[in-house]
Structure formats: structure tokens, C-alpha cells
């Protein structure tokens, strides 16, 4: 008998009914336990717990700068508008910066030396300031013509050179060009993946396009973020980080279910990871 016929006979391995029913029962048991979603559930729960932890984290945790100084920290938000106060008492918010200049601390230590109460309006150039004094927040808007105590509604007119100097320091822009890294990273990873697919002749197995509901979700979240930043105030960075990671996970999870080639799955996973890390970096530095 030739090898061909002998090999064919190996196709008659008898069916083991005990093994068959044992496996079937175990599958039924796991189906009932909802095995399909437990991993994803644990992942989302972990993310939610971390988000909650970060949200509940005390925000004014900075220590007094010296034993006899009552101002703990000063934060500023560049480019405020009269009637809208955007600064927050924490640098965990986007565009809110901690002020480190000694002159500013001296100025707010005793305002009466440098400003006088009076009537007037804020000028066109406004910076929002939060002074954390004795662990309580005081809110000011300082402009080229005078400053406003948001809490009491008192308006002060700057009467000294010190006032002008303080305004110039607070109204200075600290440029952060790091956000440019994001489009750059997206372009680079896409170029690399395209050339890899071409080299490996994987062009025919292009990764599936994002689903319409995913695009809708992304656009709504992006619109919500911009709307919040424009009309409500600065964005809370930990929440933004959670959204960035969550978005990365959703995209990856959808690709994972649709991709049919292991090499594409690996490349797309690396791409999503790099873009998410870049997004996290931009949010942290913004």
C-alpha cells in the first residue's frame, strides 16, 4: 500500500464521546458565565477606578512656601475675558500655570501698597489669577487698566510701577509647541505602516475603516471638549487622559475584532499605542 493510502486511513480516528461531551459542557458553562466580556469589563472598571481616584485627588496639595508666608500658590490662566473667569486652583487643568515669580507673591501678599480701590472697567488684555491663601482660593482678573476681585466685586486701579511689572509678567505667554508633535507622529506612523504593508505585500488586507458610530462618538467627544474649553473653562487633565486612553482602547478593540491578518494586527496595535502615548504626552504638557 502506498503512503498516500496509508495516510488517508489516519483520518478515521474514532470519536471520543466522553471528550466531546466534556468539552461541550465546559463551553456551555463558560457561555453562561459571559466569558466574552469579562476581560473588557475588568479593563473598563480599572480605568473608571483610576479616573475616580484622579478626580477625587486633592487639588491644592502644594505646601506653604515658607512658615510665615500665607500665600501657598498662585495660578494664572492667560487670555481671560471680562465676565468669564477661567483660571482654576490647580495646574491639573489645561492652560492653567503655576506662577513661580517672587514679585507676584510679594504683590498679592499685601495689595494695598500697589493698588487703590476705585471705579473702572478691565482693559482688553486680561489674565485670570487664583491666589491660594491659607488654603482658600481668591480669584482675580488683572488687566492693563486695573484688576478685579471676582469674589467681592471690588475693582482696583494700578497706581504703581510694581503693578505694571506684575501685569507684564502675568500676561506673558509661555508657548508650548509640543502639540505639534501629534500630527507629526500620526503622519510618521502612517507612512511607516504603509511602507511595511507594501514591502510585505499586505496592501490587499487593508485594515477595516472605522465604523460610523465610532466616528460619530469621536466627533461628538471632540466637539464636546472644544465647547467646554470655549464656554465653560479649562479641561481637567486626568479626565482628558482617561478619554485619550479610552479612545485608544475602543479603536484597538474594534480593529482587533475585524483584522484578518496577524501582521496587520501587530502593526495597527503599535500604531494605536504610539498615537495614544503621543496624545497623552500632549495633554500632560498642555
Amino acid at each position: 500500500m502506498d503512503l498516500h493510502n496509508r495516510l488517508k486511513k489516519l483520518n478515521n480516528l474514532p470519536e471520543d464521546q466522553a471528550v466531546k461531551s466534556r468539552i461541550y459542557e465546559r463551553i456551555q458553562h463558560k457561555k453562561k458565565k459571559g466569558l466574552t466580556i469579562w476581560k473588557e469589563g475588568v479593563l473598563l472598571l480599572t480605568m473608571a477606578v483610576i479616573a475616580l481616584f484622579l478626580i477625587l485627588l486633592p487639588q491644592n496639595s502644594s505646601l506653604p512656601q515658607s512658615a510665615n508666608q500665607s500665600i501657598q500658590t498662585i495660578y494664572k490662566y492667560f487670555g481671560g475675558k471680562e465676565g468669564k473667569f477661567f483660571a482654576r486652583g490647580s495646574d491639573l487643568y489645561t492652560s492653567v500655570e503655576k506662577v513661580n515669580d517672587r514679585k507676584i507673591y510679594n504683590f498679592f501678599q499685601d495689595l494695598t501698597h500697589y493698588v487703590e480701590e476705585g471705579d473702572g472697567r478691565l482693559g482688553d488684555y486680561v489674565t485670570d489669577v487664583v491666589v491660594v491663601r491659607d488654603h482658600r482660593e481668591e480669584h482675580y482678573q488683572i488687566s492693563d487698566t486695573g484688576m478685579l476681585n471676582i469674589d467681592s466685586g471690588q475693582f482696583f486701579v494700578g497706581t504703581s510701577d510694581m503693578y505694571d511689572e506684575v501685569f507684564q509678567i502675568l500676561y506673558s505667554v509661555n508657548t508650548k509647541p509640543w502639540f505639534l508633535i501629534l500630527p507629526l507622529v500620526v503622519i510618521i506612523v502612517n507612512l511607516f505602516s504603509a511602507s511595511y504593508y507594501k514591502r510585505r505585500k499586505l496592501d490587499n488586507y487593508k485594515p477595516p475603516k472605522p465604523k460610523w458610530w465610532l466616528l460619530l462618538l469621536f466627533l461628538s467627544v471632540t466637539f464636546g471638549i472644544f465647547a467646554w474649553a470655549t464656554w465653560v473653562g479649562p479641561l481637567y487633565k486626568p479626565l482628558m487622559l482617561m478619554l485619550a486612553v479610552f479612545y485608544g482602547v475602543i479603536i484597538w478593540y474594534n480593529l482587533k475584532r475585524d483584522i484578518q491578518h496577524y501582521a496587520i494586527y501587530k502593526v495597527e496595535t503599535i500604531k494605536i499605542s504610539i498615537v495614544t502615548v503621543a496624545l497623552v504626552f500632549v495633554i500632560m504638557t498642555y
Binding site: 496509508r6 489516519l10 471528550v19 496577524y262
Partner: protein
């Protein structure tokens, strides 16, 4: 197709393939279970034949287990009870016939790529197109691997006394 119907139809073929690939009844049982669980969880989109789809999953799971085994060898600080050794246990049906036993043991000595091509093409007698789809290979690659696998099998079995020349002629 309902899961029960699908399980009934494909269980034996999948179990047999995995068993021939890993040669360990307990591991074959676990991997078969994993295969059908993935079939249950996955979304079959009618892009391939259902049989091809399930076989692809089974093949991926077998290769995952090979990779895991290779990785575990390199893991330090592993406790002895955590090590999973594969036990070569031929099926009772196989040892009932000396001819089957010899052939089965020879197949186990082939490298995995050769072994799976022999299983698909010569044992299960799948068509070239089906094999190409499962493996994701070109027709030429499957044909070449098949020829080399049969040559290697002949060498292990000792010469051409089993009609290898005729067998390869058929494949070409």
C-alpha cells in the same frame, strides 16, 4: 448555523487535527475547547467557508500553544507545579495497528509546517485551494511544502518502500 449543530459537525475533525499536531490528549482537549469557545465568541462573516474559518482558528490556537511552550522554557523562577509538560500519548486506536503507529510517530517527527500540510492534504484530503486559504499561503508554497514534507516523511520511514514516488507524482 446554530452552535450545537456546528459543534456536532466539526468537533471530530478539529479534535483530530489538534491531536495530531500536539500529540497530547489533555492538551488537545483544552485547545479544542478553546477553539470552539473562540468560534462561539467570534463573528463569522461568510467571507470563507465555515470549515475553513474554524480550522484557521484551531491552527492559530495550536501555534499559540507552541509559542507558549517555547516561552515557558525561558521563563526563570518557574515553580515545578506550574510547568506544563506535553506528554506523548498515542491514541489507543493508533497503537492497535503497527502500521498506523509507525506512520503516526513519523508524522510527529516532522516540523509543524510539514505536519499540518500532511494532515490537511493527505489525511483530511482537503483541496489545494482550501489548504491555501487555511494557511494563508500561495498554491506554490503549499505544493512545495507538501513535496518536501512527504520527502521528509519518506526519509523517516526509510526509503521509498511506501510508494513516495507515486505519491509525489500525484501531488504534482
Amino acid at each position: 448555523m446554530e452552535f450545537d449543530e456546528l459543534y456536532e459537525q466539526y468537533f471530530q475533525r478539529i479534535y483530530q487535527f489538534i491531536y495530531y499536531m500536539v500529540s497530547d490528549p489533555s492538551l488537545a482537549e483544552d485547545l479544542t475547547q478553546e477553539t470552539f469557545l473562540r468560534v462561539y465568541k467570534g463573528q463569522f462573516r461568510n467571507e470563507a467557508a465555515l470549515g475553513t474559518y474554524i480550522r484557521k482558528i484551531a491552527r492559530n490556537i495550536v501555534y499559540d500553544s507552541y509559542r507558549k511552550k517555547a516561552l515557558i522554557k525561558w521563563l526563570p523562577f518557574q515553580r515545578s507545579h506550574e510547568e506544563r509538560e506535553t506528554h506523548y500519548v498515542p491514541h489507543e486506536w493508533i497503537i492497535q495497528s503497527e502500521d498506523r503507529r509507525l506512520l503516526y510517530e513519523a508524522i510527529q517527527l516532522l516540523k509543524p509546517a510539514y505536519r499540518e500540510v500532511v494532515i490537511y492534504r493527505k489525511i483530511e484530503e482537503l483541496t489545494l485551494a482550501e489548504t491555501c486559504e487555511i494557511l494563508g499561503w500561495s498554491t506554490v508554497k503549499v505544493a512545495n511544502t507538501q513535496r518536501n514534507a512527504l520527502k521528509a516523511l519518506e526519509k523517516i520511514l526509510g526509503g521509498d518502500e511506501f510508494g513516495f514516488a507515486q505519491s509525489t507524482k500525484e501531488t504534482q
